[in-house]
């Protein structure tokens, strides 16, 4: 029989091992999240990231080796972005009815989210790469990755910043809404989806289906508007 280390050496070079590990760790993290009452701090993506990064560091596996397997999962982000067209189609009647408030709030919201983040980072003398990677952080991750790549940020850093934004936003934004005495479901959902994309949408769905629909809409539109706006702004600067 082969010693364990040789098994590892053989399988660590195969894409299969890293696909299985990614799916396995995520499934376990998903179960823990559910068991812990869906706390945003224990979001399955964050837990999976910590566990898998720890595993790579522990086994001294380069990220490239991990990605040779994980790329098959990563690839699906593109089709998933295209697939957002279906929920947008479902909400289209409501969107058409409220198109002016939605458009105005989404453009100003998407712009201020990116502008405040970049301005604060710039104020503290952050590097250029940080500024470019932080700009698309309010956008749902598959779109943010594409934007970051386009404008010259680090896509992996942007993806992680999106996740942190989602977690911190879904913890903070409900208190902001309470302080502003915002009570209608449309606005609550819209603000959650705009600032905290998928995480915010999940929180909004707990308030109600209408809030969830508006969160999904805000998430999709913010992604679209930021994707159109940021590369053009970066080209200007």
């Amino acid at each position: 029989m082969l010693p364990v280390t040789e098994f590892w050496v053989y399988f660590a070079a195969q894409p299969l091992l890293w696909i299985v590990l990614t799916l396995g760790v995520y499934s376990a993290a998903f179960a823990i999240h559910r068991w812990a009452g869906r706390s945003p701090l224990l979001h399955p993506v964050l837990v999976s990231m910590v566990v898998l990064i720890g595993l790579l560091l522990l086994t001294e596996t380069p990220y490239q080796t991990y990605f040779s397997g994980a790329q098959f999962i990563h690839f699906l982000l593109g089709p998933a972005t295209v697939a957002i067209a279906v929920p947008l189609f479902d909400y289209f009647a409501k969107i058409r009815q409220l198109w002016l408030p939605i458009l105005v709030a989404c453009v100003t919201g998407a712009f201020s989210a990116a502008a405040i983040a970049v301005a604060v980072a710039w104020f503290f003398d952050a590097r250029m790469e940080t500024l470019l990677s932080i700009a698309p952080k309010s956008v749902t991750s598959p779109i943010a990755l594409g934007i970051s790549q386009k404008i010259g940020g680090f896509p992996e850093l942007s993806a992680a910043l999106c996740l942190v934004t989602g977690v911190s936003g879904s913890l903070l934004v409900p208190s902001v809404l309470k302080a502003l005495r915002i009570e209608d479901e449309e606005t609550q959902g819209f603000v959650l989806g705009l600032t905290s994309h998928g995480f915010g949408t999940a929180v909004a769905l707990e308030t109600g289906a209408l809030a969830g629909a508006f969160a999904g809409l805000a998430m999709g539109l913010t992604g679209l508007i930021t994707a159109l706006m940021l590369p053009a702004l970066v080209a200007l600067v």
Binding site: L23, V25, Y26, V45, S48, M49, I53, Y63, Y66, F67, A70, I73, L76, L77, P79, A80, T81, V82, A83, A85, V86, L88, D90, L100, P101, A105, T108, S112, A113, A117, V120, A126, E129, T130, I134, S141, P142, L145, G146, K150, F154, P155, E156, A159, A160, L161, L163, T165, G169, L172, V176, L180, I182, D184, E186, T187, F190, L224, L228, A232
Partner: protein, 119 residues
């Protein structure tokens, strides 16, 4: 059934990527694919069953798809060691600021539209 839905989604992505590359557009290809699929669905006035099932399958497991890129954070540890606190402050201020601005604008416009609809 599933294959046709997947094929449709991938075709729209390919079309998006082709247009972006051809005209050197600043938008990510899949985003353009999303817009074109939305236009196609609107002109069709319904979502074909195959497209809906593929879309629901992809979107209900969306979080999983971020994991490979998220693990890529391991490549940027030196940048994070220097600037993690800047990033954290920027993210928090931006979320709170954008939430206040968006909430006030959206609530005000919504109220105005409703008043108008009544009056």
């Amino acid at each position: 059934m599933l294959i046709q839905g997947l094929l449709a989604v991938l075709l729209f992505q390919l079309l998006g990527e082709l247009i972006v590359v051809t005209f050197l557009l600043p938008v990510p290809g899949p985003v353009l694919g999303m817009v074109m699929l939305l236009v196609a669905l609107l002109s069709l006035r319904r979502v074909p069953v195959a497209v809906r099932s593929v879309s629901e399958g992809l979107l209900s497991n969306l979080a999983l798809l971020f994991v490979p890129a998220g693990v890529g954070l391991v490549l940027h540890f030196d940048l994070l060691r220097d600037e993690w606190w800047i990033i954290l402050i920027a993210l928090i201020l931006s979320s709170v600021g954008a939430a206040v601005i968006t909430a006030l604008i959206f609530a005000a416009l919504l109220q105005r539209q409703r008043r108008r609809a009544k009056g």
